[in-house]
Amino acid sequence: MGLQPYLILAACLFAIGLFGVLTRRNAIGILLGIELMLNAVNINLVAFARYAADPAGLIFTLFTISITVAEVALGLAIVILIFRVRLTVEADHLDLLKG
């Protein structure tokens, strides 16, 4: 079994995550999409580590997972805060940067 199927699987996961990030209206939904994309990255890293016989990829994955957890925690905190202030989690309504 070669490396290629893993990479293609990760690519599919990445595309699905991207689709979710681009299309979800809910801010929490967007965060879930990001989780999927990061998972795709993790799969890639682990697969490369396995086929290159180098534990560095595994350590990167470890980092990624840790950082992702932190990111999710903070991201959700921000979402809840936004909800408290603006009473919505619709990404479309969060357009303070509109030019």
């Binding site: 290629q4 990445f14 995550g17 989780e35 999927l36 470890l62 980092f63 957890v69």
Partner: protein, 164 residues
């Protein structure tokens, strides 16, 4: 068909299907549950790649931690808004086209690349290697990660404190 191949072809449809469910489900809560499924499937893929430690971390942190936090968030916001959080997609065609284009080009890229057909034999105890490398080769990023967590902790405190 080896055990690995059988596992892969068994896990891949589950992973992709649950991922699609995550991004398409109308019910946010269902999305989260599907995400948990996808994450567990990913842990399975890690097992196939003989990264048992990472698989364990994946299940513990993601399925245990992230999912719990997200469920909390959903519950809190639903209670604040007083209704079920429905969620829909918008710009499906645009998003789909872009995602598809990205997928196609990545696949084309992968197809054109020279990739190893067989995996080398595992270099012994990977968990031990991870532990050793983390405190030798990667000790600096490891410490920086600690700093990042501290910042995240402070940020979470800042967001969580009561408005004055």
């Amino acid at each position: 068909m080896t055990l690995e191949a059988a596992g892969f072809w068994g896990l891949a449809p589950v992973l992709l299907a649950s991922s699609l469910a995550v991004v398409l489900s109308k019910n946010l809560f269902h999305s989260v549950l599907y995400l948990a499924l996808a994450l567990v499937a990913t842990a399975g893929v890690f097992l196939l790649l003989q990264a048992e430690f990472l698989a364990a971390v994946q299940v513990l942190l993601y399925a245990g931690g992230v999912i719990t936090i997200v469920v909390f968030a959903i519950v809190v916001t639903e209670r604040l808004v007083g209704e079920r959080l429905a969620q829909t997609n918008r710009g499906v065609i645009n998003g789909g086209l872009i995602s598809l284009a990205v997928l196609i080009w990545i696949v084309v890229f992968i197809a054109g690349a020279q990739l190893p057909r067989t995996a080398p034999p595992p270099p012994g105890d990977l968990t031990q290697a991870i532990g050793r490398d983390l405190l030798t080769r990667f000790v600096l990023p490891f410490e920086l990660l600690a700093v990042l967590f501290l910042a995240g902790l402070l940020g979470a405190l800042f967001f969580a404190r009561k408005e004055e």
